[in-house]
Symmetry: D2
Subunit: 342 residues, 4 copies
């Protein structure tokens, strides 16, 4: 069975990653690629690494015949998906890779994104796309909201600990090391090679990063009470990858056991032996997430480290995983590509 998909916003890095994944997916066929400012160009001009593929010419969204599309991936800048998805024919399933439908509460959305949501009905309908925890809802969803890449990395580490009551909810500190591709392909002086290649710096420090909206929503829901973690991302000179060092209070062995138990049947989440911590470079280019737990010399403290590829498991891989579920395909279809090392 082959399904026709459209990629809306195909000229960004997550768009390219969708194409890369779908290139060897046996059941998905790319029927349309949109990129408003680059409409009319060939994908091979925008992304020469995809030159070997026979792909549709980039077009505007208006030019797409959605009657022929089974599922659309929306990889658009934050804020643009709301109206767009609202106006799509209802037969088209949608996986949104942006932030527009991640927060269920209109007030929370406005707080973190600075403007009211224009499609609050859809906001309620959308299923949060963290596959391993919303699998059943995703299967039946018309609209799935892909998670933030940081949000995915940290939630894989912490959800089982919060729902299991294993850690102090008031003392969770997450220090992230983030590859540069997360900043996208837009032009910013501080994303130039010369600025980033020998530098490390934090950003959105002090509780300003928008992915905190997701953490607050999800962790509070899990805990049944408000939970506010500290969360600080740092740019490191690597293209792909997020490594989250989560400092928690709790019993390290119990934490490890809970993670092992949670993920023992998951195809993409690998929990390392107790005491081992994962490396970012071991998941590059793949849909895998590696998690490790290390106990501290001070009892009652532990470090949970989680790593994934922000463009893949953190975004486009997750999107395909969700699309597989929505289309009734095997969940792992097209996603078993091994990480690229070195």
């Amino acid at each position: 069975m082959t399904y026709n998909v459209a990629i809306l916003g195909a000229s960004g890095y997550t768009g390219a990653e969708l194409v890369r994944i779908i290139a060897t997916h046996p059941n998905l066929r790319i029927a349309a690629l949109s990129a408003d400012r680059k409409a009319g160009m060939q994908m091979s001009d925008v992304f020469p690494h995809l030159r070997h593929l026979d792909l549709p010419t980039l077009c505007t969204i208006d030019e797409i015949d959605f009657d022929k599309i089974d599922l659309a991936f929306a990889a658009l800048p934050h804020g643009l998906s709301q109206a767009l998805v609202r106006d799509l024919p209802k037969n088209v399933k949608v996986v949104d890779l942006g932030a527009d439908f991640r927060l269920r509460d209109p007030a929370a959305y406005e707080k973190w994104y600075g403007a009211p949501h224009v499609a609050t009905d859809l906001q309620k309908e959308a299923v949060y796309g963290l596959t391993e925890f919303y699998r059943d809802d995703i299967k039946n969803a018309r609209l799935v909201a892909g998670t933030g890449c940081n949000a995915a990395t940290v939630q894989f580490a912490l959800r089982p600990l919060i729902s299991g009551g294993l850690i102090d909810l008031d003392d969770i500190i997450c220090d992230l090391k983030n590859g540069i591709s997360g900043a996208g392909r837009s032009l910013k002086e501080n994303m130039l090679f010369a600025e980033r290649s020998t530098d490390v710096m934090g950003y959105s420090q002090g509780g300003k990063h928008r992915h905190l909206g997701e953490f607050d929503q999800e962790f509070s829901l899990l805990a049944g009470r408000p939970v506010e973690i500290m969360f600080t991302p740092h740019l490191v000179p690597v293209n792909r990858g997020i490594l989250a060092s989560c400092y928690v209070r709790g019993d390290a062995q119990a934490i490890h056991a809970a993670l092992v138990d949670q993920y023992k049947d998951e195809p993409f989440i690998m929990v390392l032996p107790f005491g081992a911590a994962p490396s970012m470079g071991n998941v590059t280019g793949s849909n895998y997430c590696h998690i490790g737990v290390v106990g501290d010399r001070k009892s009652g403290r532990a470090m949970v480290v989680s790593t994934l590829d922000n463009l893949n498991k953190g975004s486009s891989g997750q999107a395909v995983q969700n699309a597989n579920l929505m289309l009734g395909l095997p969940e792992t279809e097209g996603l078993l590509l091994a990480p690229v090392f070195p």
Copy 2:
């Protein structure tokens, strides 16, 4: 149809790349992995990025039951394959990724590798593994000698020009930019991160690089007279990739036309439009090779630029491509993974 393969020397980068490729190959099954010094270890300890795969424990070569092996990939240090392949059961097909069988002439072998060959019969039998040019021989071969990674990159650029009589055979200068993984995983001070990460340097300059033996053999054979190119590799701070800038005398348009014609039906060799030159980063992690031709302001001079991933198309991807042919499988099976960018 599933074939059982063994990877001899699985603890190096080309061994890991073979595993990565075969992980999604529908017809190959990894039945044995050898690594003499690391025998007894799990592959996931040697290469944690392969943790998700169910792989045999590393063993010594002696421990492998070759009766159950259809084809062996030998990814061993230069000089070790000769005796090993000589002693294998004759039913086992072999793709050698090392240098032992690349040169047909025992004298040439001794000149470039500093010791006499110990299996000169096999040396004669071995087919040179540049798939696009030795396809028919490879299909019927028991032993295929994988080419040098530099040798592949440059030959894709120059073979059609030499056989077509399009360039001056006495004035061919090839300046290569080489990713660091080509140096392998062995410990050398000048391969440390701190030494290489902000440096570029040439090596084996002045006609000392062993891949010159391959160039001399192949280009002289094509031309029907001795041909000796200038060839200088330079280390650049990138993991994977070779970009060869070949400076030749000839008509740029005719050169481009000859390359387009040669490769028009090849699945893995992409010739860019005239005047465009390829980028190393556009083939990373894949079995594709991109080639471009640019004419110089001085008529009668041209630059032919060729790029591929040294671990993949330059070594392990080429090896699987050849194995596919030797086993009667479709040539592209398992090799259509798109390049990883960014």
Copy 3:
């Protein structure tokens, strides 16, 4: 006034950095360079970037005439300095860049370094080399123990907060991002370019890193009670630099004010405006340390970020700063080189 200095262990990165700094220091003259295994070689063969300098040939330590040496920098592997310094003529001042004299307590030394100290008298005599806090003692010292590079980075951030009683002593979490040169020039597989260039990984997690010995000693002394921080370094693909993200409980504004006050007259410690966090790349190649304070959205929590160049302010620059004091020279002599960016 010119002083003759010897560099013992000149073939490592800190040795090379000492030479680089002293090259434009008006009062220090390099009279001897030792490197046991490379004795007899020219420094320009070991470090070609120093080719323009007229330097002594590398020799063994035994070959040095210490009667002509005013001060020796010992940049030796941990454990070798103890006996060496013990046996030096007493007229020679010593700045030890290794770990042998950092811990005053023989039991603590044995705990963290796994062997008893062989010169416990000297251990007591040695002054801890964190210049900005031990300046007066250093001026009169014969033996100064250079601090660990991580130890310096974190202490600059936290000492004023601990001595000022501004933070919760039982909840200090320091997450460090470390350049690779800190691992030195010795051969380790996981320090190869191909292993490190696209990776981030923690190491010595869980309270195992030896610099914890220094933190325990210094912070407990300051606080007048035992203090044990959590401290986790992570390797990032940068040559030089440490960026310490310190998560503390306390009033962010008060913390910032204390740091501003502490360092207002220090030539090398720059405190950024409140709310700004420093970048590792802004101190590369220099003796400067940048510190910033950001308040969290949760009141009573703050992040103090400190960054310096591990080879310079974290090691060789600090050593020269201390040598200046010991020799009665202006403290900043030779150390005002501006950071190199980009």
Copy 4:
């Protein structure tokens, strides 16, 4: 003696490098810093690595009182210097780091830069700033035209060979590997970290690069006949540095001897022993240039390799070296900073 200098265009990388060098120059005082779009900002906001320096606020050029300026460094975009320098008071000496005065012939300027020159009188007056070859003229010049960074690198390798009649003038091929900072701080998609960090690509291939104008001018002048080299730069993922691999026909030993002879008394040009080739990383952050000569296996062919730091010896270091001469200061003043490695 202290001279007041202005840096016009201080917000670019060469501007920052001028400030870095002058920071420890005993005779130059930065009296004014201009940056039109960033006028009013502090230099520490534009370049935080210069935070420790007490520098003038950025201003517009109009706001500078040139009566108080002895020498101005113009680090402006190509095309802007012409009118500016024309309108400066005649008492102000000028070192132009841009391209406006490099070509003496108005027709050549228009050919390579696409517009007529607006100050052809000054164009004639300007002295070409390749210090080691125009030293006497520079001492007496009011206006010195800094060379292109590629132009400097290659000329150091080839000038003595051309003037000495040692190489075939019709067969000179220069393949350059270029650090990214040469592209400046302006926003271009292909200069983003994610685009460049694992890539190598040529640019301005086929005789289109503007520095060819300088090569044509200088080499033809030296040879007394038209000389047109092939010259192709390639971007490599390094911040600083140019490594030029020059392929020539001539006697390698004679070539080496000529270079040794030419540079034996030069403080900044180091010729390596015959057969050794330099590494880019050994000159980073310095005003040194390393040159090596390797003979090929084919007699009559040689490779001359030259490397320098594009921002320093290739631009700002050269500018200070010329300023020293113009102001009657020792030529090496402020420029003896050793390269930064690793």
